[in-house]
Amino acid sequence: MQRLLAAVPVLLGVSILVFLMIHLIPGDPARQIAGMDARPEEVERIRDELGLNDPLPVQYVRYLGDLLKGDFGRSLHSRRPVIEDVKERFPVTLQLAVASTLVATLIGVTAGVISAVYKYKLVDHLVMIGALMGISMPVFVIGLLGMWLFALHLRWLPSGGVGGPWYTWDGLKYMILPALTLAGTSIGIIARLTRSSMLEALRQDYVKTARAKGLSELAVVVKHALRNSLLPVVTYLGLEFGFLLGGAVVTETIFSLPGLGRYLLSAISARDYPIIQACILLGALFFVLVNLVVDVLYSFLDPRIRYG
């Protein structure tokens, strides 16, 4: 509870920062709304109507007042309530975040464990080279290569967009390529994290003890060493997942997914203030919440960790 309360000043700080940032960067929403042919007096009129000519503190207090009433405002461009827009896009972002985190964890942890167990063998080297490639390749390269191979040449998967509900094949097949693309970097990082902390754990006395009492190698590795090596991985995953909930701009753009990342990006281009504010604030909120969950996971993985 205390930790939840601690999130309030964080969010307040974020709201002030975002508000100041978007109002101080160059670019005038009224001019974007009016279009290229508009008269300067028209732009001025729109600015007045939107309240953009009021002093910044006045605008901020008005915004905060609405926010406290649960009102994120309407988009300056579409006039649609921002919350409606977010509600429509969040499921796509959530699906993508969950799918890519699952893929990254499964592949990354497995690869890391194999690498650690077969330390300095060929398979270790291969896995580590793969991991390095995953980390180094930009997302758009992985994405476009994946699209070229799986959509254009093999014709196994659609090139982009969204299909039916996620639990059906028609929905799932649209998520595979984006999830793999987005997971690319994480797989590499997780594999390396897992490998190094597994190597550390395998040297510990309790592993020797486990082996000495005659446990099978599989049980030693999975139950004893792995469980104790997962803490850094979970920390990383928490950060990454929280981050992904804010939207994955590049992946969403390549695969034409209607998620929060693209929504935020186009709002920034159009200087659609209410959308930018809402998206970043919600992103910060998700980030705080996810990290709270991660802290709880710590104590599950390592019973020595307790929170008062």
Binding site: G27, L144, S256
Partner: protein, 535 residues
């Protein structure tokens, strides 16, 4: 009529110079068949489907399908009846009376009347960011259910053009009852949208697609289509795929039928691909590099003309646009009313001629220094060009290299569009590149005092331009308007107010199952009344 150009031995491209030659059309094979779905993809997303409320291009394209206006312009700029079957103007040009069709129904089932027209114009005039289009309008009056009268503040020929649907669809008339019922949600919630156009909105997934279906009652299509309605296809899916490569892949796979925004880079891949044809046509563009006339260096016309002489347009056509563009002759696009025939304007143009550019710069006192960059009074000839997109950056790079040849050091500043507009308004730039399409030469407004600080990025303020522009806006004599625009063009070219740049092509990729697709030079797929697909 289309003329055929061979780019390589194998491939044949159909290039249509619209305005000169008419609408581009994919050859219709056999008789139109009813039914089927056409998936159209573009790179941007619609935001609000209330005509006049949004200046976004996808919004405008969709509004063409959903709504009709009183009149509509064909691809040659000719005005045709639409919701109004006829109209007349008073002797002094101040009163315009429109006689409306009495057989038109909105998608909601309500009958269309003059009250809907008045309702739309009243809101447009008072609330919408696009209201400058009807600045001349004083008030709208309902004479009877099928007669509506507009009173103007001053006579103008632009009025008819600006209320025609072709002027960005702002004149599209929505169902006034639906607008009242939905308030701010009109045009945003799919169920709210009710027009009289050939297609109605079924669903709208944000950032993804808008699904339209044929409006079966529609029989009031414009006469320049073979089919006045109802449309042939059951459904139109208008999809947004932002990434160029992804859109091309989707077209190749047949996931989409028409890509209305093929990039010049991707066009090559379709040139000899089976199952896909490319349709290209000249954009009615106003592409130019503008000089900031407030900067001392550009106050000398010799310097400005030297810059124009230094630019080889053909290089930009070949290397940036991959051949999908035409070098410009004069400034207005040849299909625009007021453009001067090429052979007449050519003598006034500063055509590509580096020797001439060098000579003019020498005369203006800019001397070559050791580094090859010219200087005058110890100041190097260094200018910064502001651009806001990848293709603009490529164009700027070519211009940079060409201007370097004559001793000019060009710096390029690439920024985001919103920041670019601010920079232009604040006159931070020395030069800028801009692209955009205009159905008429009325955007000469950009080069007038009223357009300061933006969109007048050239900061060009000149009594003669002002005088000529006022004539174009207030005359009721079409010939006088044309002559004034021609005079403005000649003035711009002689004074080298800007460097006119190649008109790039609109490149459309179409799958072979699509027939009867006609294409408007500004609005692309337009009303899609003749389109049909193999089943």
């Amino acid at each position: 009529m289309a003329h055929v150009r061979r780019t390589t031995g194998i491939l044949v491209l159909v290039t249509v110079l619209v305005g000169l030659l008419g609408a581009a059309a994919v050859q219709a094979a056999g008789e139109p068949v009813r039914g089927g779905t056409v998936v159209i993809a573009t790179n941007r997303i619609p935001t609000n489907l209330y005509p006049g409320r949004s200046t976004g291009l996808p919004d405008i394209a969709l509004n063409m399908l959903i709504y009709d206006a009183l009149v509509i312009t064909d691809d040659k700029g000719q005005v045709h009846p639409a919701l109004a079957h006829s109209w007349e103007t008073s002797e002094d040009g101040l009163v315009w009376t429109f006689y409306l069709r009495d057989d038109v129904y909105f998608h909601s089932g309500r009958k269309f009347t003059a009250h809907d027209v008045k309702f739309h114009f009243d809101r447009w005039q008072t609330e919408f960011p696009t209201r400058a289009k009807i600045n001349a309008l004083d008030r709208t009056e309902v004479v009877d259910d099928y007669t509506v009268r507009f009173y103007l503040k001053y006579p103008t020929l632009v009025f008819l053009n600006n209320i025609s649907q072709s002027e960005w669809g702002y004149g599209g008339i929505p169902d006034s009852e639906a607008v009242k019922q939905w308030g701010e949600d009109y045009g945003v919630v799919p169920e709210s949208i009710s027009g009289t156009g050939p297609y109605r909105v079924v669903s709208w997934t944000r950032d993804q697609q808008v699904v339209l279906e044929r409006y079966d009652r529609y029989t009031w299509g414009p006469a320049f289509y073979n089919n006045q309605g109802p449309a042939y296809v059951d459904r139109i899916v208008y999809r947004s795929i932002p990434e160029d490569a992804a859109r091309s892949t989707a077209l190749e796979l047949g996931e989409i039928d028409i890509d209305i925004a093929v990039s010049p880079r991707d066009a090559r891949r379709f040139e000899n691909m089976r199952g896909v044809s490319l349709l290209t046509q000249s954009r009615v563009s106003a592409n130019h590099i503008g000089f900031n006339h407030w900067k001392p260096v550009f106050q000398d016309v010799r310097v400005r003309r030297a810059f124009v002489h230094a630019i080889n347009q053909q290089d930009i056509v070949d290397f940036v646009w991959n051949g999908y563009a035409e070098p410009v002759c004069g400034f207005w696009h040849p299909s625009v009313d007021g453009s001067t025939p090429c052979e007449e304007i050519r003598p006034f143009m500063a055509e590509y001629n580096p020797a001439k550019a060098n000579q003019l710069l020498d005369e203006a006192g800019w001397r070559r220094s050791g580094s090859g960059i010219r200087t005058k009074d110890g100041q190097p000839l260094q200018v910064t060009m502001y651009v806001y997109s990848e293709v603009q950056e490529q164009i700027a790079l070519v211009a940079q290299a060409q201007l370097r040849e004559v001793g000019v050091d060009v710096r390029i500043r690439s920024m985001e569009y919103a920041a670019w507009t601010d920079a232009l308004a604040n006159a931070e730039h020395d030069m800028y590149y801009v692209d955009g399409s205009h159905s008429t030469a009325d955007f000469a407004y950009w080069f007038t005092e009223a357009a300061l600080p933006y969109p007048n990025g050239t900061k060009w303020v000149d009594p003669e331009t002002e005088r000529l522009y006022q004539i174009t806006q207030q005359t009721v004599n079409p010939a006088e308007r044309t002559a004034a625009f021609q005079a403005i063009e000649k003035l711009f070219i002689e004074q080298a107010v800007m460097i006119p740049m190649p008109h790039h092509n609109w490149i459309v990729g179409v799958r072979d199952r699509v027939h009867g697709l006609t294409f408007h030079p500004i609005h692309g797929v337009y009303k899609l009344l003749d389109i049909w697909v193999d089943r």
